[in-house]
């Protein structure tokens, strides 16, 4: 490797040298230590941007100084019908320490509504086709007082299958239909309280996706849209974002939306766990001791207990910005703020990209990271964390580290099981699967009922997860699942397997050459590789 590449180009980029410490990698519910080849480039998350010292004041300021419209208080009249929509449990990840930012936003907004004589208020979780949140999760998200005051009649999950609860708003000139939650659409004012966790979130996606039905969603949650998004974490070059923008214009024509967006930093762990995002070369003796203690303790626990433990550690995110007003200017400001946190300037693509898959995803909160979700984290999220061009060169090898266990949550992911076992052996072609099976799964009465009355993801959701990995699948030459404890899961996903990372790197080098450039994403990582 050329010497000029070995120097430190950014505080979040580290090159492995002969005396470098081994790196910590998540692999499902485990954390492993791996020695990486000399010259490997390791991308760390940027240090957390300092959080706002008084987030209540920041939210109030945003409500009173909105972008593109009158302040919230000036839009309120006694007796009006108001709906507040909030993001669901899929963000931020892991669920943040209480009080959740949504709770703070709601407390301030509800106080303002009450002060202006607005009593007809509903709070709707914009879960779209995600699973409905449980009462416990809903209480945790908004706090005891709001929960007691509004649940269940005036604080509930959106139901994308309740025909009477939906209303068609219109369609775009591209024939993309838009049907939304009736209560939200028929309100005099719809307030959307958002947390922007990754650049894909927020903006017009909040209302047009979070409160829509299956038919509206399938117009843009489809393989071609994903292929045309380069990447879907880059709103400027995302066809998904473009389509949501088109739908958002219809939303703005028919609804009065007051959008509140917040940006958060990337302080996933604080205190005893903060070493997980640190450069291992800078570890103190205490950091090493904490890691070894954690590894020892977790090694003694069964997988389910390890999972439970990881899911019970709340994230320590802090709010870094809040804007309110019209959707587009608000979102533009928040995206800009988000990239200040996430952007890591990177020069040069790599031939081999290594990423450990932690037990963290938007779709397995308090649940199992099943094989389809491993796929969506690897080829979907981790692959798409770039701007301008992929971190991995076309045809390169992606090594993901995960046990790839064949386990599914029967309550939350019932249709995933059928998708994985019945459809993937037949085809991995996203277009074929969409044409032949997506509607069948979406209309399966059992899955519909489990979505509506239980806590299951919608029957069509595993398809979206498969599409989410589509541009990764088209771009990557080969995927190697390192540490996979069985052969059939990687095989079903179209991947090769290796016992460990060393073997996987050796395999990758046989394809890419012995001087292949290797980059590792140091997970857990919320960051965007800004490619030069």
């Amino acid at each position: 490797m050329a010497l000029q590449l070995r120097r430190k180009t950014h505080e979040s980029i580290v090159y492995i040298d002969s005396d470098s410490a081994p790196r910590i990698m998540p692999s499902g519910e485990d954390f492993i230590l791996e020695d990486l080849p000399v010259g490997t480039r390791v991308l760390y998350p940027n240090p957390p941007v300092k959080g706002l010292p008084n987030r209540e004041a920041a939210i109030r300021y945003a409500l009173n100084h909105p972008l593109g419209c009158d302040p919230l208080f000036a839009q309120l009249e006694p007796g009006m019908k108001v709906t507040i929509a909030v993001d669901d449990i899929s963000l931020p990840l892991p669920p943040m320490a209480t009080p959740d930012i949504r709770q703070t936003m709601l407390e301030i907004v509800l106080d303002m509504l009450a002060g202006n004589g607005v009593d007809d208020v509903h709070i709707i979780i914009a879960n779209s086709l995600h699973r409905k949140m449980t009462a416990w999760e809903m209480k945790r998200m908004v706090g005891q007082k709001i929960f007691d005051g509004y649940y269940p009649d005036r604080y509930y999950n959106h139901d994308a299958e309740w025909k009477e609860g939906l209303i068609k708003i219109g369609e775009t000139r591209h024939k993309e239909p838009l049907t939304l939650n009736r209560r939200a659409a028929e309100s005099d004012l719809l307030i959307y309280a958002n947390i922007n966790f990754v650049p894909m979130d927020g903006g017009h996606k909040s209302v047009a996706v979070g409160l829509c039905d299956y038919e509206s969603l399938r117009a843009h949650h489809e393989p071609q849209t994903i292929r045309d998004s380069d990447s879907y974490m880059d709103p400027a070059r995302s066809e998904l974002s473009n389509k949501c923008g088109r739908l958002g214009k219809i939303v703005d024509e028919h609804l009065n939306v007051f959008h509140i967006e917040t940006a958060i930093n990337n302080r996933m762990y604080k205190g005893d766990m903060d070493f997980l995002t640190k450069n291992e070369d800078d570890f103190s003796a205490f950091d090493r001791m904490k890691f070894e203690a954690m590894r020892y303790a977790m090694g003694k626990l069964p997988r389910a207990a390890r999972r439970k433990m990881l899911h019970s550690m709340p994230a320590q995110y802090e709010m870094t910005a809040c804007y309110a007003g019209k959707t587009e200017p608000v979102h533009a400001k928040i995206i800009e703020k988000g990239f200040q946190q996430y952007s890591i300037p990177v020069r040069g693509q790599c031939d081999i990209l290594i990423t450990g898959i932690p037990d963290i995803s938007p779709y397995n909160v308090y649940s199992i990271l099943n094989p389809l979700l491993v796929q969506v984290m690897g080829l979907g999220y981790h692959f798409n964390f770039y701007r301008n061009k992929p971190l991995l060169r076309k045809g390169g090898v992606m090594i993901i580290h995960h046990p790839c266990y064949d386990q599914f949550d029967h309550n939350m992911h019932p249709s995933y099981i059928e998708f994985f076992n019945r459809l993937l052996p037949e085809s991995r072609d996203a277009f074929y699967l969409r044409d032949k099976y997506e509607r069948e799964f979406a209309n399966n009465p059992s899955y519909v009922e489990m979505y509506r009355r239980g806590n299951a993801y919608h029957g069509a959701h595993p398809f979206f997860m498969w599409y989410w990995g589509e541009n990764g699948r088209q771009h990557v030459g080969k995927v190697i699942a390192a540490g996979a404890e069985n052969a059939h899961v990687p095989a079903m996903l179209g991947w090769e397997r290796a016992d460990n990372l060393t073997e996987a790197i050796a395999m990758a080098r046989t394809y890419m050459g012995s001087s292949a450039e290797i980059t590792m994403l140091h997970q857990p990582m919320i960051g965007i590789a800004d490619m030069e």
Partner: protein, 220 residues
């Protein structure tokens, strides 16, 4: 080829079971003394019914339907509407309507296959808009129940066998069909369709459903 959704009834679409129906008829006897003795006998038999059902659905049926011995057919038919209004209608699970409506909307024929008595379920079937149903029939001699069931006695494998015959006759593709039940005794019925699902299952059926990766529904 057409497909269908086959439902067990009691415990699956409604919260009541066979004992609730028996209890209703026991309470509504021609005189107070008989109502009291019949009700007491039904109550005292509940543990026996529970144990025998765990052992074998056939043994349960033999024991259970004997309790109807001596009931007159016209009386049972007379009270059927009241049974529906007071017992069955309030017991329909909220999710039942949604499930049937969704199944119907995708073109599935709606078929109820139940071990309950035909006279007692008829009004409920009309209420749910289900035309195709099959239920057990009591044997009546000179208008009085003998306490035996007319064959075929619908339980366990007989339900599956009836479904097979029905599917053949009506041109229904079982691989594309759905079946719903809450009871382990309906395992044969669940096993012969392409899309089985369990509803409000007990522990044994839940474990079986988990083992086979069948959807587990809660219609309550």
């Amino acid at each position: 080829m057409a497909a269908a959704a086959f439902y067990d009834l009691e415990g699956t679409l409604v919260s009541t079971n066979l004992v609730h129906t028996l209890g209703f008829y026991a309470r509504n006897q021609p005189n107070l003394v008989r109502s009291f003795t019949k009700s007491a006998a039904t109550l005292l038999s509940v543990p026996l019914f529970a144990v025998s059902d765990q052992y074998s659905r056939k043994v349960f049926n033999d024991l259970f339907f004997k309790r109807y011995k001596g009931e007159t057919e016209d009386r049972m038919r007379f009270f059927a509407d009241e049974l529906f209004e007071k017992v069955l209608k309030p017991a329909v699970f909220p999710g039942t309507f949604e499930l049937i409506e969704k199944s119907r909307s995708i073109g599935l024929r709606q078929v109820v296959v139940t071990g309950a008595l035909d006279v007692s379920v008829k009004p409920l079937m009309e209420y749910l808009g289900i035309i195709d149903y099959v239920a057990n029939r009591l044997e009546f001699v000179k208008g009085v129940a003998t306490g035996r069931l007319l064959p075929p006695v619908l339980a366990s494998a007989t339900k599956a066998s009836w479904i097979r015959t029905f599917a053949e006759r009506e041109g229904i593709n079982l691989s594309e069909s759905f079946a719903y039940s809450d009871s382990m005794s309906d395992l044969p019925m669940l096993s012969i369709v392409g899309h089985p699902a369990v509803v409000n299952p007990d522990f044994r059926l839940r474990q079986t459903a988990l083992h086979h990766d069948w959807p587990i529904l809660n219609l309550k």
